[in-house]
């Protein structure tokens, strides 16, 4: 009896989370189409999210490309095809690894940062103070971060992809002795237009997830400073799961339209 009651409350809790999250998303999107646009705050967020994440994204891309070159060459060696390793690197990076790994790293750095900042503002009444000053906190805090993530995460992903292919070339040239012209020709030859489209749609969706999950976790923080820690962790875990799940769904969706 108690078990079924708990299940009922748990289900109601999940429905409430979906309702609150949908409400926050709709208000944040509506904020895109009405003034004020808080351009200064937006530029600040673009700098913090974009430029601030550059180093971590470059490192992720570089090592991903280098490891792929090493592992790919081992797998292709028995077939005498290790010189085609750039094909494997460019397709796997542009379609999957670049967007997903960059998004996971950015979720860790940016998403949790957004959650902890907004959560701290919530528990110290700064969100209420914004409302008391006549400012819509969703438009000021959420819409600006959403725009910054939607703009910068695709850019960061393109950079991660480029660096990964470059990292693969370093290993291919210096360790595997593959000709540079051959490497770059096959690297670009392998990428199709739909790969580029998918490689841009994915980071845009991931950007939306990172911004909104981080803002949601921050906005609905309860329980003082302990709550700030909980929200930060929840934001990181939820973003990562949603990124991986939506990656699968988007790949499946694109495969349905050859």
């Amino acid at each position: 009896m108690t078990g079924s009651f708990d299940l009922k409350n748990t289900l109601i809790g999940y429905v409430l989370v979906v309702q609150e999250f949908t409400f926050l998303c709709s208000r944040a999107i509506a904020g895109l189409f009405r003034p004020p646009w808080y351009v200064r705050e937006m530029v600040l967020q673009i700098d913090r999210i974009g430029v601030g994440s550059l180093f971590i994204v470059v490192l992720t891309g570089m090592f991903t490309g280098m490891v792929l070159a090493l592992q790919g060459a081992v797998q292709l060696e028995p077939y005498g095809a290790s010189m085609y390793v750039s094909r494997l690197i460019s397709t796997s990076v542009v379609r999957e690894l670049g967007p997903v790994l960059a998004a996971l790293m950015i979720a860790g750095r940016v998403g949790s940062g957004i959650a902890s900042e907004i959560a701290s503002m919530q528990v110290t009444e700064q969100i209420d103070a914004l409302r008391a000053e006549g400012t819509d906190p969703i438009q000021k805090l959420v819409t600006t971060r959403l725009v910054a993530c939607l703009l910068m995460i695709p850019v960061l992903t393109i950079i991660a992809n480029g660096i990964a292919i470059f990292g693969g070339w370093l290993v291919a040239r210096l360790y595997l002795g593959i000709d540079s012209y051959f490497y770059w020709t096959w690297a670009f030859e392998a990428i199709r237009q739909r790969d580029i489209v998918l490689g841009l749609v994915k980071p845009t969706v991931f950007g939306f997830i990172i911004a909104m999950v981080g803002c949601y976790a921050g906005f609905y923080t309860k329980g003082g400073t302990v709550g700030v820690g909980v929200s930060t962790t929840q934001s990181m875990v939820s973003s990562s799961i949603l990124i991986l799940a939506s990656d699968f769904l988007l790949t499946k969706l694109f495969m349905a339209f050859p």
């Binding site: 700064q126 914004l130 409302r131 000053e133 006549g134």
Partner: protein, 255 residues
């Protein structure tokens, strides 16, 4: 200026307020007095439109705010300012940017005029030297005073204070009290929520006393001091309560 009639509020499973009715006249300083958890701060949040009551009416400057949308409430809030218990200064902004926040957001005045208003407000609270500091560099008392300066700079006609002297030493508490009295002489309408009897009796024109979400007294400080109601006498002078009554008060507070 403010009229509350039959206000009831439930948060989750807990009934926070029931049957709250009182008025605040223009230029009046009203103190809402009560123990911790009695629902006093919630009344300020209702007046500010941060909460909506389950039942009852709240009129601010003749406007029924319980039916307004968030965008319309933002307009009403332009005439009010609140000094939060923890000051709620924006951590990422300097004292100057905090104090002039509303004026810069409104964008109606030039930077020079806003700068002048910010300096005047900081001068009023005695913190002109702190204009370029960050909130993290200020003491608790200074943060509260910057909070008051922010409220003043906004040009609001109605100031709401949530526990303005809580956590302050006697000198800082006296300074805040003195600031409220100076604003009173300027004709500013003020609502002060506190459990501090000293500030309540010093600044109030009228006092509303709350217990368990209900009003148990409304009148002048003199009338409150002369009340023989056991609940009021117990709050004003806990030493006159029998030990079991003090224990019951503490356990209710903890609950």
């Amino acid at each position: 200026m403010i009229v509350l009639e039959g206000v009831r509020l439930t948060l989750g499973d807990r009934q926070v307020l029931e049957g709250i009715s009182f008025q605040v006249q223009p230029g009046e300083t009203k103190v809402i007095l009560g123990g911790s958890g009695s629902g006093k701060t919630t009344i300020l949040r209702l007046i500010l439109g941060l909460f909506r009551p389950d039942r009852g009416s709240i009129r601010v400057a003749g406007e029924e705010i319980t039916v307004l949308r968030e965008q319309d409430l933002a307009q009403i809030r332009q005439n009010m300012a609140m000094v939060f218990q923890g000051a709620a200064l924006f951590d990422s902004l300097t004292v100057r940017e905090n104090v002039g926040y509303r004026l810069w957001e409104q964008g109606r005045l030039s930077d020079e005029v806003i700068e002048q208003k910010v300096r005047e407000s900081l001068q009023f609270v005695g913190l002109e030297d702190a204009i370029d500091k960050m909130p993290a560099d200020l003491s608790g008392g200074m943060r509260k005073r910057v909070g008051i300066a922010r409220a003043l700079a906004s040009g609001a006609k109605l100031l709401l204070y949530d526990e303005p002297t809580a956590g302050l030493d006697p000198i800082n508490g006296f300074t805040i009290c003195h600031l409220i009295l100076r604003l009173k002489t300027k004709g500013v309408t003020q609502v002060v929520v506190t459990h501090d009897l000293d500030i309540a009796f010093r600044v109030a024109d009228r006092i509303v006393m709350i217990q368990d979400g209900r009003i148990i007294f409304e009148g002048t400080p003199e009338e409150l001091g002369g009340s023989q109601d056991p609940a009021i006498r117990g709050f004003l002078d806990p030493s006159c309560l029998p030990p079991e009554a003090r224990e019951a008060w503490s356990s209710r507070d903890a609950g």
